[in-house]
């Protein structure tokens, strides 16, 4: 599935890969994900959530 071209609903800007911080079970980490360069709104696609995100969650739960 090709990455969808999303625009920020508030600012109207195209999203750009930028750093996003995450927290789970006391672990804090970051990764690049599509984000509005102005307001910072994030987009995580279903593909990403079911793939890499789920993997990382599983790893942290097993620690």
């Amino acid at each position: 599935m090709a990455e969808r071209e999303m625009l920020c609903g508030k600012c109207g800007c195209p999203l750009e890969p930028r750093r996003v911080d995450f927290e789970y079970l006391g672990h804090v980490f970051f990764a690049d994900a599509p984000r509005c360069p102005k307001c910072g709104e994030v987009y995580l696609s279903e593909e990403l959530v079911r793939g890499r995100v789920a993997e990382v969650e599983m790893e942290l739960e097993n620690k």
Binding site: M6, Y24, G26
Partner: protein
């Protein structure tokens, strides 16, 4: 109370030998010996047998084989014939000769007094370790009490062969009169029955030890028969070696006891014993006889508990891993390796039911859950979905209602949240039926607290129990009537002041059952929570038969009922495992399952197994293929049930319906997808609402659809939707557990 570890140390029989090995004078590892024979490895079997007995050619002929009397099949198609198997190992090994070991000579000298079975065994074993051994024998030849038990040629041939690589000085026709004559660091007295003990007796401080340093005694001298004398000689060799190396005289006594006695009822009947020909078993016959052996070990837990079986871990191993997970040996969180394992227990109680020592590994895992929660070390995602359901059941869906005039109803019907969510109409019909038996019955819609208990959330669990207790007291302490056996088990465990009964017992006694079936065959699937309630199990069978169904028993039912896969809410932490358990249960019977737990029925329905609830048989035509409700539908059903009961019995107190804050239409297939991810319709509504209210969303310029996320509980829910009519249409939804740290733009 003893810790679980102490309980295991005191009671677990995992390492106890089977009765055959316990009875063996040599403590032969019978299971390993037989396992070699099963695969036709005669050389390996023989080597093992020779190491254990020193003189396989003698022992296999003269041993009385107490192992056979102890065999679990002794009274059932015949004991495994170890005598013949031992002979076959010796007969069919490609090379019966002993191994030659090239070890350095040891300088210590050992004197063995007596060349009978015990002295010979001791001498052979020590000589093979290259000690300087001298055997003093009063007579002119070796053999002692073995002479006459087997032909001289056979005896001499075996002795010659076993001693062929060893250097032992035999001094025949040499009578030892005083031990001071012997120039040796250690002495073994094996002068036989009635022989000279030189004033020595067994001191009891260690195997074969006398009261004098360096002097050991055993065999016929201390009353052993010839076979036990050989075993004594081998023990004495160990005792002598320990003494020479450490100066100690404390060689452990052989513990020939076992607490483990296999239950023949749990073992399939063996094939009939294989009869040997004149020359003993042929190799094929020996393999066939070995294959009758079940290699008994105490392994009911790891055989029947899904968690222990799938992880191949005995309770002792679980205990170690769980304990180091709760109290990691390192300061790093990395040591919490068994977190998911702890959450994988379905709390069915089968481990305790099948354990001959009654060890309750499930209780240990539940206690471990509590400790992990206290430490904040259990991932929230392993339980949150069901804890939110508990909140709903005891919040929006809670109802305590007593329709009759009396302030003290006789019965309090507690249908349980799962049945109310799956078949609200059956709850209503059951309540009506109960009221025909006892018109003053009341009803309580709520959750028993199992989810909080399974999650190890002690405080929340206490609060649920307190609320249930208060409701019960406010009605004058009626007898709770349970449709769900899990609720009943939870009440019995945590609210023991309430004497309860199952709905099925009440209906079986007082309700006229319409006959709807025509003798079709079904299997009653006892929920694991019914294990301790045989009266309820009988009542369900009686109701089903009265209703016209023929019952086909399942192998594991009644006391040994197994979990359907739902217990412990394991699907959240271990989805693949829970689904495997359900599939395995569904395959245990060919006939459709008749459940009396709504969870069992629903998980089987979801796995494609034909299943119905017993109440369907009583109150309607059962639909064996009815789909399980989604979690969202379950909530709707419970809301509707509450309203319906209020409308019927307390029309003035009907809770007004809450209007959803947003109109969101969801296609049925999408709702099913949400359900698989443990997402509710209201979670999607909350996310769309958050996007629309905050104006924070993303827009796909091609389709004009929107996407965004919201925190619902601890989860992050993503929605894709578009405007439709006066509201919105959901296009997709998914969720993740990690939280996006908002308002932090490192651009």
């Amino acid at each position: 109370m003893a810790s679980f570890k102490e309980q295991l140390e005191a009671l677990c029989m995992q390492n106890d030998p089977p009765p055959c090995a316990a009875e063996c004078p040599f403590g032969l590892d019978v299971r390993a010996f037989v396992a070699h024979l099963k695969r036709g490895a005669f050389a390996a079997a023989y080597r093992m047998y020779r190491d254990a007995t020193a003189f396989p050619g003698i022992v296999s002929r003269v041993c009385p084989h107490p192992c056979e009397g102890a065999c679990v099949f002794a009274q059932r198609n015949g004991a495994i014939s170890l005598r013949e198997l031992e002979r076959a190992a010796a007969a069919h090994t490609p090379n019966p000769r002993p191994n030659r070991y090239n070890l350095p000579k040891r300088k210590e000298r050992i004197a063995v007094v007596g060349a009978g079975p015990s002295g010979l065994a001791c001498a052979l074993r020590l000589a093979s370790k290259k000690y300087a051994v001298t055997v003093y024998e009063r007579g002119a030849r070796r053999g002692g009490s073995l002479r006459g038990l087997l032909p001289d040629e056979a005896l001499d041939a075996e002795l010659d062969m076993q001693f062929m690589h060893e250097t032992v000085e035999f001094r025949y026709e040499t009578e030892v009169r005083d031990l001071s004559e012997l120039d040796a660091e250690a002495i073994y007295l094996a002068t036989g029955r009635g022989g000279d003990a030189f004033g020595m007796t067994l001191s009891g401080t260690g195997a074969c030890a006398s009261g004098r340093e360096g002097v050991f005694l055993g065999g016929g001298l201390v009353g052993r028969d010839p076979v036990a004398a050989i075993a004594d000689g081998l023990t004495a060799a160990r005792a002598v070696e320990r003494y020479l190396k450490t100066g100690g005289r404390n060689e452990p006594f052989r513990d020939g006891s076992t607490r483990f006695h296999p239950d023949p009822a749990l073992l399939p009947a063996p094939a009939p014993a294989v009869a040997p020909g004149e020359g003993g078993y042929t190799p094929e016959q020996a393999v066939a006889e070995a294959q009758r052996c079940r290699e008994c070990r105490c392994d009911a837990c790891v055989t029947y508990c899904d968690l222990m079986r799938s992880n191949q871990k005995y309770p002792s191993r679980l205990e170690e891993e769980v304990t180091t997970t709760i109290e990691p040996v390192s300061l790093s969180r990395k040591a919490r390796l068994a977190t998911r394992l702890i959450a994988a227990c379905d709390h069915c109680g089968l481990c305790k039911a099948v354990c001959p020592a009654g060890i309750d590994t499930g209780a240990f895992l539940l206690e471990s859950q509590r400790k992990m929660q206290e430490l904040g070390a259990m991932p929230w995602a392993f339980h949150e979905f069901w804890l939110r359901d508990l909140e709903f059941a005891n919040g929006e869906a809670w109802l305590c209602l007593s329709p009759s005039e009396t302030k003290t109803p006789r019965y309090l019907f507690f249908p349980g949240c799962r049945l109310s969510g799956s078949s609200p109409e059956l709850v209503e019909r059951s309540f009506d039926a109960l009221r025909t038996v006892a018109p003053d019955s009341a009803v309580l819609l709520g959750c028993c607290g199992a989810g909080a208990s399974w999650a190890g959330r002690t405080e929340l669990h206490e609060a649920v129990l307190e609320r249930l207790r208060a409701a019960w007291r406010s009605l004058g302490e009626p007898t709770p009537v349970f449709a769900c056996m899990s609720c009943r088990r939870e009440f019995a465990r945590y609210l023991p002041e309430m004497a309860s009964v199952s709905l099925y017992e009440v209906l079986d006694e007082g309700f006229p059952v319409p006959k709807r079936g025509a003798g079709e065959t079904v299997s009653v699937f006892d929920p694991c929570s019914s294990r301790d309630w045989p009266d309820a199990q009988r009542a369900v069978r009686s109701l089903a038969e009265k209703a016209g169904w023929r019952l086909e028993p399942l192998r594991m039912e009644g006391k040994y009922a197994r979990c359907c896969g739902w217990g412990g809410h394991v699907a959240l932490s271990n989805p693949g495992y829970a689904s495997d358990v359900t599939k395995s249960r569904a395959g245990e019977g060919d006939a459709p399952y008749l459940a009396y737990c709504a969870n069992c029925r629903d998980v089987f329905a979801s796995a494609g197994k034909r299943a119905a609830h017993i109440l369907e048989l009583l109150f309607s035509a059962p639909d064996w293929e009815r789909k399980a409700p989604t979690a969202s539908e379950s909530r709707d059903n419970r809301r509707a049930l509450k309203r319906r009961l209020q409308e019927r019995f307390t029309p003035g107190e009907v809770t007004p319906m809450e209007e959803p804050k947003i109109r969101l239409s969801i296609a049925p297939e999408l709702l099913t997808k949400l359900d698989r991810d443990h997402l509710l319709r209201e979670d999607a509504e909350a996310a769309v609402l958050r996007c629309e209210e905050s104006g924070r969303f993303l827009r796909d310029p091609e389709t004009d659809s929107r996407a965004g996320h919201a925190q619902v509980g601890n989860a992050t829910v993503w929605v894709e939707y578009r405007a439709a009519g006066e509201g919105f249409e959901l296009l997709n939804a998914y969720a993740h557990r990690m939280r996006i740290v908002e308002g932090h733009d490192n651009g």
